[in-house]
């Protein structure tokens, strides 16, 4: 229990694509998040001197941990935040894991009679097409979205594009850019009040680190 009481803040950081970039930014901000946890099976890491416990979560679950207060703050892609629509504070644009969400299809794509769109983000995709007055059937897939147009499951897909290499390798093209995506710092509603000092401190340190990075870019 004595161990527990030194924890001032619980932070959910997603494993996978974003982790190393987030860890690097946190270290620049003076919060010693370890560089390498991705290949361990550890789910919790305690940063003794910083008084922070890191929760290593699946990216799509970060907003859930934060909304329920199991984590006070979290790092999450704007894509997940838009898809999950959770009631949390979105405090900072961390400027990391920069990519975009796009509509992608075969180079010879023409409007289909019954358009189908495959995606990992059914809420975002439905809203996007609905707001543009387009009638599409949205199909939820869990991975390898690029397959869908190749095997005729859907005529277009909605997915993240970072360098564009994956879509090029699969003979697909970006038809429409939807949104720019970066990772965000989010906070639980109650933690934002009850632990405002700690949350502000982490926020300020990260903001300073982001400003230093931006100053380096000519």
């Amino acid at each position: 229990m004595a161990e527990q009481s030194r924890i001032r803040l619980k932070a959910a950081i997603p494993k996978g694509r974003i982790y190393k970039k987030a860890a690097a930014l946190f270290r620049e901000a003076g919060i010693p998040v370890p560089d390498d946890v991705d290949d361990t099976r550890k789910l919790l890491v305690t940063l003794e001197e910083a008084g922070i416990e890191v929760i290593l979560a699946k990216p799509a679950d970060v907003p859930t941990y934060v909304e329920y207060g199991a984590a006070d703050i979290g790092v999450v892609g704007k894509d997940v935040l838009m898809e999950e629509n959770r009631s949390v504070y979105e405090l900072l644009d961390l400027g990391i894991a920069r990519c975009r969400m796009s509509v992608i299809g075969l180079p010879d794509w023409k409007p289909a009679i019954h358009p189908r769109v495959a995606t990992k983000y059914p809420n975002i995709a439905s809203r996007y097409f609905r707001e543009r007055g387009q009638q599409v059937e949205v199909i939820k897939l869990n991975g390898s979205i690029e397959l869908a147009p190749l095997v005729g499951l859907a005529d277009r897909i909605v997915d993240l594009v970072e360098s564009g290499q994956t879509i090029r390798e699969n003979g697909l093209v970006e038809l429409e850019r939807m949104f720019d995506i970066t990772s965000r710092l989010i906070a639980n509603r109650a933690s934002y009040r009850m632990k405002s000092g700690f949350v502000d401190e982490v926020c300020d340190r990260l903001q300073a680190a982001i400003d230093r990075r931006e100053a380096r870019v000519p």
Partner: protein, 400 residues
């Protein structure tokens, strides 16, 4: 997807059974809260579960898709009440229209909202609250906030914070910065309503604003804390409406120090309020160990007018089914006693039980044990008794 016929033990999503221990704890909390409200001069009223959609339903400013609606036998649309402020406004403007203002009323009831995703939300939940109608002064705001703090303490919530804001500060700032652009004002307000500070800053960047105005609108994100937050804000804010709102807020803050609850309160000028009928001071309470708010309230000076009796008003509601999750509950006071009897000693047993109920502060259960069955309450080794899995402080046997 077609719904399969539910199994017999199932109940609709979003509603909950309260088993004896939880129900008892919830009732004790409600009782302590209502008692506190009564000691501050608030009289309880009860209003119906069903209201008309066109009156209270619309005035409640609950999103349409979150209202439970049904038709009465004439085909009129009814709603299950989604909050208590609008029903009480209806009563104050009609049945109580001859009672002089200010009126202090309390309420305790179940309310209904169809909420799909939000954490900790149920479709039916319990609210205990007050409305103070007919007093627009900072004194009235301070009274209800101080009372809310007292109620949280009475309920057994040890560590809590109340965030305090004023709708007028932000409205005034936005109006002054973007006088001709209600659409852009709305965009910024929506960002704050959804607690999206990143979106708020990005939207500000994209707007054509005087450099000073942009800096001011960005600064309010960090204007949080005590009285100094108000003073800082006064150095930022130039328009009369915002300055008046800040003056009001500062007055409330000072009064809260007198009530001795200043330590629990923190000012946040970005609060927008979850009900569109709010017009002034708004507040929300949080406790350690719970990720979502336990109580909220605010000033609604225009709502009464829509029921035909214009009057300023303020109030709050505690969500007791959330409070029960974090409240310290003093150990149960009453003792449990058991009277076991066989038929030939029925009279003695029942008379004894009746006497115990009259004289002792205890719950007394009588159990008839037919001839030929084992009576057997067991001593649990700690001076108490166990019978059919439940514990009793004392057991009386009438079986010999």
């Amino acid at each position: 997807m077609t719904m399969p016929k539910p199994k017999m033990f199932e109940k609709p999503r979003g509603v909950k059974d309260y088993l004896p221990d939880l129900a008892a704890k919830l009732r004790r909390i409600e009782w302590r809260v209502l008692e506190t409200m009564a000691r501050w001069g608030y009289r309880q009223i009860i209003t119906p579960t069903l209201e008309y959609y066109d009156t209270v339903g619309l005035a409640s400013s609950t999103a349409n898709e979150r209202l439970f609606k049904l038709l009465d036998n004439k085909g009129t649309t009814l709603v299950l009440r989604s909050e208590m402020t609008a029903p009480i406004a209806r009563v104050v403007a009609s049945l109580l229209k001859d009672e002089a203002l200010p009126l202090r009323l309390s309420h305790h009831s179940n309310v209904f909202r169809a909420i799909e995703e939000e954490a900790g939300r149920e479709w039916e939940f319990f609210q205990t609250g007050v409305e103070l109608v007919g007093d627009g002064s900072p004194e009235a705001d301070a009274e209800v906030i101080a009372l809310m703090a007292e109620c949280l303490k009475a309920a057994g919530v040890r560590e809590f914070k109340i965030a305090l804001g004023h709708i007028g500060v932000l409205s005034g700032l936005l109006e002054a910065a973007l006088p001709e652009r209600p659409d852009k004002r709305q965009t910024l307000r929506e960002c704050l309503l959804h607690r999206n500070y990143v979106g708020y800053r990005a939207a500000l960047k994209g707007m054509d604003l005087a450099p000073g105005a942009r800096a001011d609108l960005e600064r309010i994100l960090r204007l949080r804390g005590g009285r100094e937050a108000c003073d800082d804000a006064l150095s930022v804010v130039r328009d009369d409406a915002s300055r008046a709102a800040l003056g009001h807020l500062r007055d409330v803050w000072d009064a809260l120090q007198v009530y001795g609850v200043g330590g629990h309160v923190s000012i946040d000028l970005t609060m927008v309020g979850n009900f569109s009928y709010y017009t002034g001071l708004i507040f929300e309470g949080y406790a350690a160990g719970l990720g979502f708010p336990l109580c909220s309230g605010g000033r609604y000076d225009n709502l009464l007018a829509s029921f035909g009796r214009p009057a300023p008003a303020t109030g709050f509601a505690l969500e007791t089914n959330r409070i029960v999750l974090v409240a310290d509950d003093p150990p149960e006071d009453g003792r449990r006693m058991l009277v076991l009897y066989r038929k030939h000693r029925r009279e003695e047993a029942i008379l004894h039980a009746m006497a115990l109920r009259r004289e002792k502060d205890a719950a007394v259960e009588t159990v008839f044990v037919p001839e030929g069955t084992e009576i057997g309450p067991e001593a649990d080794g700690e001076g108490k008794w166990r019978f059919k899995g439940r514990r009793y402080d004392m057991v009386f046997r009438f079986d010999e």
